[in-house]
């Protein structure tokens, strides 16, 4: 069963963070205990979306081995309805911290992988978390590959953009498959994808094109753009089609039905 889920993409701007936040919030809404980590150390954004700018400790500190994971976790359970628990570990947005994370050497990255792998025991086993979500930076960054290695399942976000399609195909073949990772593709920001017939046709085309299981198709919603990152959609817009698509994705992941 997939317990650690990385959300990754070839290019930036594919909606990884939006998907990570809302997938994690969907699981929390369903009564699960989840934790979402920001591994996009070059362009941290989770702190702003989750409105948690004043963290005392950051996920950087955990990977630097200066604090335990408990110090890093921010409890945001009051942000989601229901009995679930929603925690986050944020990347430090300070320029100095971004510069520091960009200059790490291979040995540091190797130890960081060890710290990520240790989350399985410290959070999933010792603290009974149900799911860990890792929001990554795009492409072949060290931190992203570490997240992929540590994960049980990779949500691959892609758009219809030609360069994104080619790059995603290459990553599926040369990255995820080499690490024998289960993947689920999310085609995001799709125009005219509301009609059922069109969705089914598109799903088949994507399956043929990428040769990997499809997790979902997300139409381009103006409301999401208008929200400007100020909402956790699945919490604030419970009846919105986006919320329903995310609920279906969560159901597929939970029941191991991605195929």
């Amino acid at each position: 069963m997939s317990k650690i889920i990385a959300v990754h993409s070839y290019k930036g701007g594919t909606g990884k963070t939006l998907l990570s936040v809302n997938l994690a919030a969907t699981f929390a809404k369903n009564g699960k205990k989840v934790c979402l980590f920001d591994l996009d150390f070059r362009a941290p954004s989770l702190f702003a979306i989750l409105k948690a700018e004043n963290s005392e400790y950051w996920f950087n500190d955990y990977l630097n081995n200066t604090v335990d994971i408990d110090k890093v976790l921010v409890n945001l359970s009051d942000r989601v309805p229901g009995n679930g628990k929603f925690f986050a570990g944020l990347a430090n947005p300070a320029t100095e911290a971004i510069r520091d994370m960009s200059s790490k050497d291979r040995k540091w990255e190797m130890r960081a992988l060890g710290r990520l792998l240790a989350l399985r025991e410290s959070l999933l086993i010792d603290q009974s978390f149900d799911y860990i979500f890792l929001d990554t930076s795009p492409g072949l960054q060290y931190s992203s590959i570490n997240a992929i290695v540590a994960a049980d399942f990779v949500v691959v976000a892609t758009t219809g953009d030609r360069s994104d399609v080619d790059g995603t195909k290459r990553m599926l073949k040369e990255l995820y498959s080499l690490f024998e990772k289960k993947t689920g593709l999310v085609l995001n920001k799709v125009l005219d994808a509301t009609a059922t017939a069109k969705k089914s046709e598109m799903s088949n085309k994507v399956k043929m094109n990428y040769q990997v299981p499809m997790l979902g198709i997300v139409p381009c919603f103006c409301e999401i753009l208008r929200a400007e990152g100020n909402l956790i959609f699945v919490q604030d817009k419970a009846e919105h089609p986006f919320t329903k698509i995310l609920a279906e994705m969560a159901r597929k992941i939970e029941s191991n039905e991605v195929n």
């Binding site: 050497d105 040995k107 190797m110 130890r111 992988l113 060890g114 792998l117 590959i145 290695v149 690490f179």
Partner: protein, 116 residues
């Protein structure tokens, strides 16, 4: 004798030879510390990506448990113990892992002290 058993036997023999090589190398390094035969190599994700498939599988398993016997790794990879033992020894020779004997058991691990 079954062909698979013969292969396993050959692998065991090969493995014994590798173990002897490791011992010689270790003693050699102790005697000539300034001319270390192999530098410590870091088992990071880029190294994992560049490895041949058969070694990557073993290396990823050891990354997950940080210290294990060939039998424990074989339990994860679902390959024969003798096969895993040979691959683990290869990783030791390449400088990615350390090996320590405790009684009759050999433990393989990533040396975090020397790797950063």
């Amino acid at each position: 004798m079954n062909i698979l058993e013969k292969i396993e036997e050959s692998l065991e023999r090969l493995n014994d030879k590798i173990e002897v090589m490791i011992e010689i190398q270790k003693n050699g390094n102790e005697n000539h510390k300034s001319t270390s035969a192999l530098p410590e190599a870091s088992l990071d994700v880029m190294t994992l990506l560049s490895m041949p498939d058969h070694l990557r599988k073993t290396a990823m398993s050891i990354c997950r448990c940080s210290r294990a016997t060939a039998e424990e790794i074989a339990g994860q990879t679902r390959r024969a113990r003798a096969v895993e033992s040979a691959y683990l020894n290869q990783l030791v020779i390449m400088g990615y892992l350390k090996k320590e004997r405790k009684g009759r058991k050999a433990y393989f691990y990533i040396d975090k002290e020397t790797q950063g």
